[in-house]
Homo-oligomer: 469 residues x 3
């Protein structure tokens, strides 16, 4: 008891980290961040200078509905997906909240320096698209959280997020600017990176005696229903995720359609494999909660491309199948042979479907033709402008493949390094036999109390319902 | 035990159905489905040809926010509304998910052939409005699911959905194209059809010994709270449902206002009747979860009409009253006398309010005048163009009434036929005494385990909270 | 038992209030309420008269996505935030639903008379902005509900709402029209008023023996997770709340950014103080559920101003800190010394952050300059037009401060008077020892039943899972 108290006491470290980092954010935002032309009060002049006739042409109206959907995915989607453990729901949804709220601030800065720097005054100019990208960046870290859910302290999560966001921003810059790869829904930038980042960390933090916590590493009936809230909000709003930062007009429109279709197909193959895998054909909630989402991941890179409706269905079909098989065979294999303990199975939901998405993106980019896209459509979709105006689809396919490798390397390399930092014995994490337990970081209500009033009540306080009405 | 295992084993049928149908979808989409002018990469040329100046005039921006709301209604709204049973929450939200994901694909095809076929190349051209209509179509089948909740196998649900979508598409074609009836929110097309379709199936599948499952045919405290998630998302987003496919501009605007008001009034009369019906005035969660939504159903057909704000309130007032009375008197009557077992009371929530909606639509259409709508407004609202340009409001009222009859006939007739198919003993459904129980189709976590860690924990693993802090 | 039955019997009062008030609404809407130019079928003519070229310039498309988010906040946000009590979840989400549905109708009328009256025909003309404002108005009353949660009857809540909406509309008219103060997110109009209104009522209704209900005045594990649904939807959609009625274009855009940032900072300081306050650094769900939202309240008044990103972070930083300290020190102090029992701690979440918001608004308004806003931007942001065209920022700051005083006075004065009305012994409220208990107003399912089927099931009805598969 004494050492456990000592170990998980985060009374000084967590507040210190929160205050220091939030103060740093205020100072850095003060020095570097301002509104952009569409969110600044000088909009009237901006509009006139660009000959914009209606306020509705402000980028806000193109992207705000999608932004809010993405926001729901980050906080309710990821948060509730992680409430499935019987006694770690507070940690699942609560730490997700903490980490995301910190991460988005740091992401606005990191991504801002790379993408939204106004060289005339050295300021980062932010608008609605920056908020979406910050949420995307956070998603990468939340994916990684899924691998270590229940096994790390909130302080470790904050450290993991600080480095994760930093690595993400560099990786994203290389992929989208230097390689000029397209990745609308972030199959590579977000899901491959986040997935391998989390798996690498979990590998470094391997807990040999984790089975001593096995009685808490499972769900109860209602925690599985809570997790379905997360699943469904992720599933429903994924079209917004993949289309949020696409080109105005057909780009956003097509990305939403492709994602909608891919996800629908995934559901059917997930149910099929889940049922096939049990002697009596019973369905497993773990598969339904997770693998149904793999199609959204895998269609991310190519979401804006002319994937065609049937192409989206094929991607979804394969992903539901592979992701569910992953839960059945790859996760146990990874745990036993590779010493990678992956609480939420992010390898099946993010890493592997992300790789599929990257491959689909590379192939469909390489196969793009002017007859399918139209002359202007091809240029718009792949942004073959300025220094990239002579790039051909075939070459683009090569760069897409290269981008995928960059994402894998950043994930594994970054995760390994950060994992080593997190092994330092100062972060307040629990021992192997106390994982998946909210009691170490949260004031948890006494559960027995619920019995008392009900019994007492039925006997003494009110008339008996059945005889009395 | 042995026969029960035999009966509910869906290990081969469910995967087979999922794989076969998903494969069929891929093939049919490959042959028939392409992007439409607003979601295709040729949008730049499309825009120029139609003299569209801004990307914001893409239909995507008129309808996407409403689409996402409708999507939430289908998956979270219907799904969580059906989690109210104490031990069928997995089946409620999970099978809803499966059925909707399959149904929307089939709906895109069926509705596409009737409404979005491009005769120049024989292809269905899809855009955001098709996605909304597919979700609508699915809603009809999910309504029907409500009548048989807990009593059918997932394979039966898939069959029910396949035929339901097919019937829906034909019915919708007759109502909206041949009769040229208006039905913005689908009171007739969706709710009457779906309601009677489900009731007829439930009638054919009558279970004489269902009372042997009565200990599971009820809620527990937290399952009722879960169901309120469904109720509220349906209630809040119903304005989007009724306005999603209305005319751009005033049409969508007015439909949202009418629905908002109607639903508000429904809540008050539902609470009133629910309280009145109990000796001590206690409220019944079944009424609050369901009858509060009836106003959204009933205002569906006339949502786009000049119903006037007070007209919407009157519709809502009547529906809350009638729907709650339905739960109190009609549902028990139907179960005892008509042998119709209606788990969720869809007769009170969908069928009956749908009929009210159809009647309101017919009357208000017949009463429409140019002074109220304006000359152009009347033509736009009722789409009195092309071959219908000489139709008068009075005649329109007659066609609206006819449409209602079509919906009732398709629901009852189709449901009876499909019910007969579902009586075949090959679908893996449970016996009468095993209804409303997730254990037959789902891996359900052992509930006792929750007690173990809590007790053990309090005694051994951590310091006592009360003495220690 | 006998008197308790007598007291809480609302079988006649609740239905009577619902029917009378709903009927009154129908009559008043019939006499007074019509569609406005953008929701009326005459839109085609309206458009032509104003030279509007595209339907997308209908106000509906500027505000509908934000409206739906606000709607979710009112019904799911406030509703689920109040499900945290172990045995008052039905009352929390259910009465919230009832009160909001009634309140929004009365708000449309009251606000309509003050703001949307068409003097040519004496009619209130409503559109999407009226719906948002009605939801805002309701928010004030729901905040007040938080103070008396579990201690009042639904009839008292209806009375409280009737008067609350009335007072709100007058207060809003004084603040926004007479004083011409700006208050985009309603820090003053909604949160200060609603907060002090509820606290004053709770003070008048002081229950000296409330500790006899203390065994029910707490949460259980899953009720805390339910409450997080409310928290997160409020947190995520707060940018929509603060931007919903802002100026088209940069106004809405900037308000969303400011709110997003402020809320992010609040999360970090809330976690920090919550952890600091416990001996072992454990987090308290009460803080996480509530104080994380304070930043959204406090940035409300100044949301549309050029607060700058770092300014928003500073506001959020301070609010998370103060609000959490409020839960730790001010709430117990108020309960013991001031006899104000505040169930949800609305003083910490609404009243105090509202005051901070009012102060921030006054200071930043007074400090506004043409160089920061631009000439046109300054006029647009503060609406320095017509009779206010000569007002300077400094003077505006003074009026902002005056507005804050008006809100405080209306809250405290109105709450005290309404509290006296609610002390009449006719409203069916429970005694001090029966608070926080759903059983008095709701049919609550017997909880024991859940044990029976599970045990019985495992022993008799199905094969044992572990040995059988």
């Amino acid at each position: 008891i004494i050492w456990s108290r000592h170990h998980t006491n985060i009374r000084w470290t967590l507040p210190a980290v929160c205050f220091v980092w939030q103060t740093a954010m205020i100072i850095l935002f003060g020095v570097f961040v301002r509104y952009n032309g569409e969110s600044d009060a000088h909009w009237a002049e901006f509009k006139m200078a660009r000959n914009i006739t209606s306020d509705i042409d402000n980028d806000f109206y193109f992207r705000y509905p999608s932004f809010q959907d993405v926001h729901v995915m980050i906080f309710v989607g990821f948060g509730f997906l992680m409430t499935f453990l019987k006694r770690y729901s507070f940690g699942g949804v609560g730490f997700n909240f903490l980490v995301a709220a910190f991460g988005l601030q740091w992401a606005l800065l990191m991504q801002g320096w790379f993408h939204s720097l106004d060289y005339t005054d050295g300021m980062i100019k932010i608008g609605i698209e920056n908020l979406i990208n910050a949420d995307f960046c956070v998603a990468g870290c939340l994916i990684a959280y899924g691998a270590v859910l229940g096994k790390v302290s909130p302080v470790q999560l904050m450290v993991m997020t600080l480095f994760g966001i930093t690595l993400f921003a560099v990786e994203e810059y290389i992929i989208s600017d230097l390689l000029h790869a397209r990745d609308a829904g972030g199959s590579m930038v977000i899901h491959i990176f986040g997935g391998y980042y989390g798996l690498a960390i979990s590998w470094v933090l391997y807990r040999p005696n984790l089975k001593e916590s096995s009685q808490l590493q499972g769900s109860v009936y209602h925690s599985d229903v809570f997790a379905m809230i997360g699943t469904l909000f992720l599933w429903m709003f994924w079209p917004s995720f993949n289309s949020a930062t696409c080109d105005h007009g057909d780009g956003q429109h097509r990305a939403a359609i492709n994602t909608y279709l891919s996800l629908a197909a995934t559901v059917l193959t997930t149910f099929a494999i889940s049922s096939l895998s049990q002697k009596h054909g019973k369905l497993d909630m773990v598969h339904i909660q997770n693998s149904t989402l793999a199609g959204g991941v895998a269609v991310g890179t190519a979401a804006e491309f002319m994937l065609m409706p049937y192409g989206s269905l094929i991607v979804g079909f394969c992903c539901g199948l592979l992701s569910t098989l992953g839960y059945l065979y790859i996760t146990p294999f990874m745990e036993k042979k590779l010493k990678i303990q992956d609480t939420c199975g992010i390898h099946n939901l993010h890493a592997m479907p992300g790789v599929i998405g990257g491959i689909v993106g590379a192939i469909t980019a390489a196969a793009a033709t002017e007859s399918v896209y139209g002359k202007e459509g091809l240029v718009n979709t792949f942004d073959f402008t300025n220094e990239f105006k002579n790039r051909t689809p075939a070459v683009q396919g090569g760069y897409q493949a290269a981008a995928m490798c960059v994402a894998v390397c950043f994930g594994i390399g970054g995760g390994t390094l950060v994992g080593l930092i997190l092994r330092m014995p100062i972060w307040g994490d629990v021992t192997d036999d106390n994982c998946f337990n909210d009691e170490f970081y949260w004031e948890v209500p006494d559960e027995e109390e619920i019995v008392v009033p009900v019994l007492e009540y039925n006997n003494h306080m009110t008339p008996n319902k059945h005889t009395d009405m």
